[in-house]
Amino acid sequence: MTLLKREEWQGFVRDVDWSYSYVDDEAVYPEWHSGTGKVPREAWAAWEESYKVTYPEYVATQREKEAAVYAVKGALQRSTLWDSLSEGWKSATKMHFGGTAAAEYAAVLAELKMARFGLAAAWRNMAVFGQLDELRHASITTFFGHEFISRDPQYDWTQKAYQTNNWATISLRNLFDAMMSSANVVDIALQLPLVFETGFTNLQFVALAADALASGDVNFANMISSIQTDEARHSQQGGPTLEILAEHDPVRAQWVVDKTFWASARALSALTGTSMDYYTPVEHRKQSYREFMEEWIIDQFIRTLEQYGLRKPWYWDEFLRGLDIWHHSLHMGFWVWRPTIWWRPMAAVSPDERAWLAEKYPNWEKVYGDKWDVIIDNVNAGNAAATLPETLPWLCSTCHLPCCNATQSRDGTWRVRDFSLNYDGRIYHFCTIACRQIFWKDRGGVNHETLIDRFLAGQVQPMDVGGVLGYMGLTPEVMGDDPDYEAWTRDYAGRPAEGLAAAAQS
């Protein structure tokens, strides 16, 4: 028997849009889930993915990928590779496992929503593959992290992190709930596959894979590279959706893309920026975070915008300035509030590391150098306790990350400024102008309480450092600390100290 070629039968079995006789279209594709908005219902019939795959092909390919990843894992399980990894790199992986494992499962639900409520059969078909991909990612990430729990309890946060009220988790959940869980499928297709997966997963899965290999973590590099091959396929749901939306409702298309790019950039500056520029040992860093953003994210994003007739976002200058600030400040924040996180943040500000930072970021010494020097002098004076926090950082009401983005004044000085607004009788504070603008225009964040809001409302008891750590689920064996103070302070030992450090020295 002669088999038909794929292109001869795929459209026939894929396009299972039938006419309903007992219910109307709105009952099957309600607006609040399907979100067609100003786009005529029939326009979605033109939705067409550029790279086609059938179920047998999908299964065969995925089986090969799984076999390859688990073969490497099996071989390395008997090696001592993990023991030779630096603490900084291990922190990058703990951050990744805790930040992504359960988020991948949230992506399963987003893909399933598109598989049910997507407005074209081809789209729904592609989303079915997408949810299978995400299920694989949730499983593989959880399983790979789980392996290390017996060696280090912080890896338990692979599964646990997302279920806690840790401040970093609240920030990520806030991002992903808006991106994947609460939106209609048209917005999801723009937010998740188009902006986040086409753009930003390159950061965590390509940039970090390169650093993982250089750091000797073949297993991790193999895992995230395998995941990225799936992303590359199912992320194509974004293009056809944007094409149709941009034709009929360009204002909505621009807004959804703009706000998601911004929110993703904020989150990835915390997740990837710190991993690339601090946690990866300096001799293994392939590119700086800024260089990678410029080469892999910004160029591609601008090309995408042009392709669909959209403009550069209104915040573009603020975003570009942030490439020199956001992740450096967040790194300092993670380090200062280290008992509140599930990894061990290496300060990574030895003279060699600072020389690298100053070369990649010419303003780094001016903005951060003296603050790290004060910290270093306190550590060298045996006064590390002075570097620990006794209060909370103020958290942005949009991205839920600390308000820690200094900007330069006309006189050349750098200051962290307040961006606030009054709404419904209370004041909200934001880390940036764009976070404030997104809050104001969307109002989606009005009822999302930051950890500060929860603390001040009395939800955290007792209202002290211990109460906060307990509320966030942190136990003594898990809470973070610098793994090796001496590594980045020893070269400064013996220099004259001032202030608190001098008092401790005397």
């Binding site: 400040s329 300092m332 924040g333 200062v336 903005v367 951060y368 003296d370 603050k371 020097d373 004060v374 910290i375 306190n378 002075a386 570097t387 926090p389 006794e390 209060t391 909370l392 950082p393 103020w394 600390p402 308000c403 820690c404 200094a406 000085t413 750098w414 200051r415 962290v416 307040d418 606030s420 209370r426 004041i427 504070h429 500060i452 603390f455 001040l456 001032e498 202030g499 608190l500 450090a501």
Partner: protein, 91 residues
């Protein structure tokens, strides 16, 4: 008639060149000198190098007198203040 009991006023504050805004609780009865000290406690000599100058509270960009209280200044819970060193201008 007795004075009303001081009320808690949690503030969003930043100290000089520090890298982050922080939560600092004060009361309506605290003076600006006390507020400045409460903010500085978390930062001065810990991340920002101590300087031999007085400190001044800035509220909506305006300098507030050291003896003025939080209540008299009209500073409300969740408001933002900045604390700066009062460095004399060199003529």
């Amino acid at each position: 008639m007795s004075e009303p009991a001081p009320q808690l006023v949690p503030l969003n504050a930043v100290f000089a060149t520090d890298f982050v805004q922080i939560l600092v609780p004060v009361t309506t009865a605290n003076t600006m000198a006390e507020v400045a000290a409460a903010v500085a406690y978390h930062v001065e000599g810990k991340r920002v190098r101590a300087q031999p100058y007085d400190k001044v509270v800035l509220y909506h960009g305006e300098r507030l007198p050291a003896e003025m209280t939080v209540a008299a200044a009209g500073i409300k819970p969740l408001d933002f203040i900045a604390v700066e060193y009062d460095i004399p201008e060199v003529s």
